[in-house]
Each structure stands twice: as C-alpha cells, then as structure tokens.
C-alpha cells in the first residue's frame, strides 16, 4: 500500500487559533499515523498493529486498539484519520451484521471488503482512511484485502499499511514466503511491526496481534519491554 499523496481538501485546519493559550496540536485532527499488517496462512490470518494515536505531535492515546471487530471472524486494521476509520468501521459492521442475519449464515470476507471499498470510494474526497480487511470464511479460508486511501480493493497474501509501512517493505519482501505456519506468521508480523515502530515517529506503544481462524479469534499484546530487538546501537 503506497503512501498516498492525498488530494483531499483539508477541512480540519479551519479552527486555528493565533491564541497562544491553546497549543496547535489541540486543533489538529486525530490521526492514527500507524503501522498495520495482515498475513494469510493456511487456515486463517494473522493481523497486527501498533497502538499510537497522535494529534499533531501529541500522542492522544498510547494504548489504542486499531484491530476492530467487524464480525465474528472478520476484523479490520485501521490507519488514517481516527474519526473517519471509526465511523466507517461502525457503518460496515452494521451493514455486514444486517446482511448476515438476512442470509442466515456467516458473511464472506470479500463482502466485508467490498462494503469498505464502497464507502471509501464513494466518499474518497472527504475521507482519509487506509484499511486492511482480514478474516476467515468457509469458502476461501483466510483472506487479506487491502483498501487504501482512494478506495481501491485488492486481495493480497500479505499486506502492510500506514505511515510506518514504507520502512518495512524490504523486510516483508525478503522474509515472506508462501506456506508459512501460524507461528511463523506471528513472528514475522511482530518483527515487522517492531522494526517499523523503531523508525516511524507516528508508530509506537505496544504491538497488538490477533489470529483469526475457523476456531475463533485469539488476541495477544506484546508490551514495550518485550518487543523483538534488532540492533544494539
């Protein structure tokens, strides 16, 4: 997912104050400058994200949960504007829930991804949201779909997103091989996120991981002092 040059008019900057009593970052939009990642394996998917939400230079929340449940076996990883992605995720969760009740069976990951794409593409001028949709369904097993800024939709075996993703494309390209096991995927994701968090100012905090498979969703957190270490200098 390339870092996009957004052509969206920035409405956010209008409440600016020359008043020194109120610092700049209180008027900035809350953004999840982020690193998110999702990997398919045989039988499910592994998703991961950092936990930092910033308003300008201030970290508004250092323990954010960017892995949002859309349905029992479908999650999304959010990056971009916090408000936009939260709103979209809620809308899609509602639409998907309704659809699933009508169908009387668990929804497909591709359906969820298309719902995200529909909202992100229709309102592309106003929204700033980069989303990874990942989950498991009975038809195609574990799937990862990438819906970057602008509203494209593409399925990929492994996808990264957010401002920190640019630093780990090389790592991902050289270390990912098709046919990895669940634990290898977890290790790959944790390492990639740790590397990105090390280099990207807008990513940090803890690493949140989740595994989604037929048996359910397993969540874990890797705290700051337990992060994989890479260099000693």
């Amino acid at each position: 997912m390339a870092a996009a040059a957004s052509m969206m008019p920035i409405y956010g900057q209008q409440i600016s104050s020359k008043n020194d009593l109120v610092p700049d970052w209180t008027t900035q939009e809350v953004s999840t400058g982020t690193t998110i990642m999702a990997v398919e394996y045989d039988g499910g998917v592994v998703i991961g994200a950092d936990s930092r939400t910033t308003t300008g230079a201030y970290i508004a929340n250092r323990v954010t949960d960017k892995l949002t449940r859309i349905h029992d076996r479908i999650f999304c990883c959010r990056s971009g504007s916090a408000a936009d992605t939260q709103a979209i995720a809620e809308v899609v969760a509602y639409q998907l829930g309704f659809h699933s009740i009508e169908l009387d069976e668990p929804p497909l990951v591709e359906t969820a991804a298309n719902l995200f794409r529909a909202s992100c593409y229709r309102y592309r001028e106003e929204l700033m949201a980069g989303i990874l949709v990942a989950g498991w369904d009975r038809r195609k097993g574990g799937q990862v779909y990438c819906v970057p800024i602008g509203g494209m939709l593409v399925r990929q075996p492994v996808a990264v997103g957010g401002s920190g993703s640019s630093y780990i494309y090389g790592f991902m390209d050289s270390n990912y091989k098709p046919g990895l096991s669940k634990d290898q995927c977890l290790e790959l994701t944790a390492s990639a996120l740790a590397l990105a968090m090390e280099r990207d100012g807008s990513s940090g905090g803890v690493i949140r991981l989740a595994t989604i498979s037929e048996d359910g969703v397993e969540r874990r957190v890797i705290l700051g002092d337990q992060l994989p270490k890479f260099s000693t200098h």
Partner: protein, 275 residues
C-alpha cells in the same frame, strides 16, 4: 431498530453538507478574517476508581487574554449517572452536552431504562462526526451504569477513546503528567479525588488558560457528589469597595406622573372540557 430517542432521525450515510457550506462561507470573506470561535483554555481530567468515576475541571473561561468567567461550570449534567467535562469552544460544549442530555432523557422516558455511557458516547460521536470538526468540542464523558464504570473521550472530529484516566484541554499535558505518575487501578475514593485535584491544580499552575477554582464530580452506583468548588483558588481578590448604591444616591430633580387610560375592548370566555 432504535427507539424514537431523537427528535429527528439523521439522514442515512455520511453527510458533509455543513463542511461544504463552511468552505463556501470562508470564500465570502474574501481573504479577510473569518470569525474565530471563542475557546476556553481549560484543564479537565477524569479517573476511573474502584467504585466509580471522578471528574475534575478548573473554572476559568477566557476570551483571548481576559478572564470572562471566574466560576464557569465545565462539568455538565448528561443524566443522573453520566456527567461530561467539556474543553474547546464554550458554546459548542454547552450546546452539544445539552442536546445529548435531552436525547438521553427522551430515551429514558420511552424505554424505561437508565441510559448507558456507551450510548451517550455513540450519540456524541455521530453528532460530532457529522459536522466534520466544525463543532470545537473535546469532551470527557464519565459515568456508572449496569455494565460498570466507564470513562471515554470524544474528540472534535468524532474519534472516541476508552481509557482508565485522561486529561484534556490546554492544560492537559501538565495534568496528564500527574495522572501518569499517580494512577493505579482500583484506587480508593479519597486517593482518586486527591489525584484528580492534583492533576487539575498542575494544569492551573502551568497553563495560562486554566485557573481559579477546582470542581470535582464523583459518580458512583449510589449517586453523584458534585462538589463545586472542591478547592478555591488561594489568589482570591479582596474587593475593598462595594459597587452597590443605596436608593437616594442620585437626587431626583422633577417627577411627572401620567396615568394610562385602559378600557376593556373585548372579552372572551372559553370553557374547559372537564368530564
């Protein structure tokens, strides 16, 4: 679907009409100064403790460099079990919390249930997101309901964070430093009140936009304790003169009385139907 808890159901989907309208209005000013909203530099904080939630706020409202209100109430009533601290544009926080309170009261009456904090948060998020950041309200919502003790923050763009402790406003960095140092899960009531008081005090001391007294609001399952003020400023001004003038201070020179002639033009009687 939802009960009739709002006076008017908003249109489905995203609605950015107001953002477009505001951009058009900016154009009308032709490069001149657009009116800026009045911001109240503020320190507000909230902490979840063992038996409930403690909210705290300073009481200074500023209009640029002048203190407009020395005893402003920043902790707003939402429902008997939910209170909300507001930072940002004073008018926006006031109106938004009023609207929310009305909506929740209607919902309560219709459904016979006490509102839940998460419902208040969702309504706020919907409202603020629809206005795309044009409503400058940063709110801390705290309350106790049947599912537990909750503390949420809602940003002006509509982003929501659920946290055990937080501070907002221009003095939030100073307050957060105190909270980060002193917060533990399941604090006792007195310790929690002292922590919030210390946090707001730090905000008052280190931020020009915050000051005067400290208000504290304790919400538990048993009820609400709204202590206003919890701590008064040690820098109270001592007025030496009184500004009340007794009757007779200004001499009356002449007096002229003109009686108004009123006559009954029309009289109608409407009987009430009492059965």
């Amino acid at each position: 679907m939802a009960l009739s808890n709002v006076l008017e159901t908003p249109a489905a989907g995203f609605n950015f009409e107001n953002a477009a309208r505001n951009a058009a209005l900016e154009g009308l000013f032709d490069g001149g100064q657009t009116p800026k909203p009045l911001k109240t530099g503020t320190t507000i904080a909230g902490v979840v403790f063992k038996d409930g939630v403690v909210l705290g706020a300073d009481t200074r409202a500023t209009s640029s460099e002048v203190v407009a209100d020395k005893m402003c109430a920043k902790i707003h009533y939402i429902s008997p079990n939910i209170y909300c601290c507001g930072a940002g544009t004073a008018a926006d926080t006031e109106k938004t919390t009023d609207l929310l309170s009305s909506n929740l009261t209607i919902y309560s009456l219709n459904s016979g249930r006490n509102p839940r904090v998460v419902m208040a948060v969702n309504i706020l998020q919907d409202m603020l997101y629809r206005y795309h950041g044009q409503i400058g309200a940063s709110l801390i919502l705290g309350g106790v309901d049947c599912t537990g003790n909750h503390l949420y923050t809602v940003g002006p763009y509509g982003s929501v964070n659920k946290v055990p402790y937080l501070a907002m406003g221009s003095g939030d960095l100073a307050a957060l430093a105190i909270l980060e140092d002193g917060f533990k899960h399941d604090l006792e009531l007195e310790k929690a009140k002292e922590l919030v008081r210390a946090a707001i005090h730090a905000g008052i001391m280190s931020d020009l936009g915050s000051g005067n007294n400290i208000d504290i609001c304790v919400i538990t399952k048993q009820g609400v304790d709204y202590i206003r003020p919890y701590q008064e400023s040690e820098y109270k001004d001592d007025r030496k003169m009184k500004y009340k003038y007794r009757p007779g201070t200004t001499a009356v020179l002449t007096e002229k009385v003109v009686p108004l002639k009123l006559e009954v033009v029309q009289e109608t009687v409407q009987k009430m139907d009492t059965a």
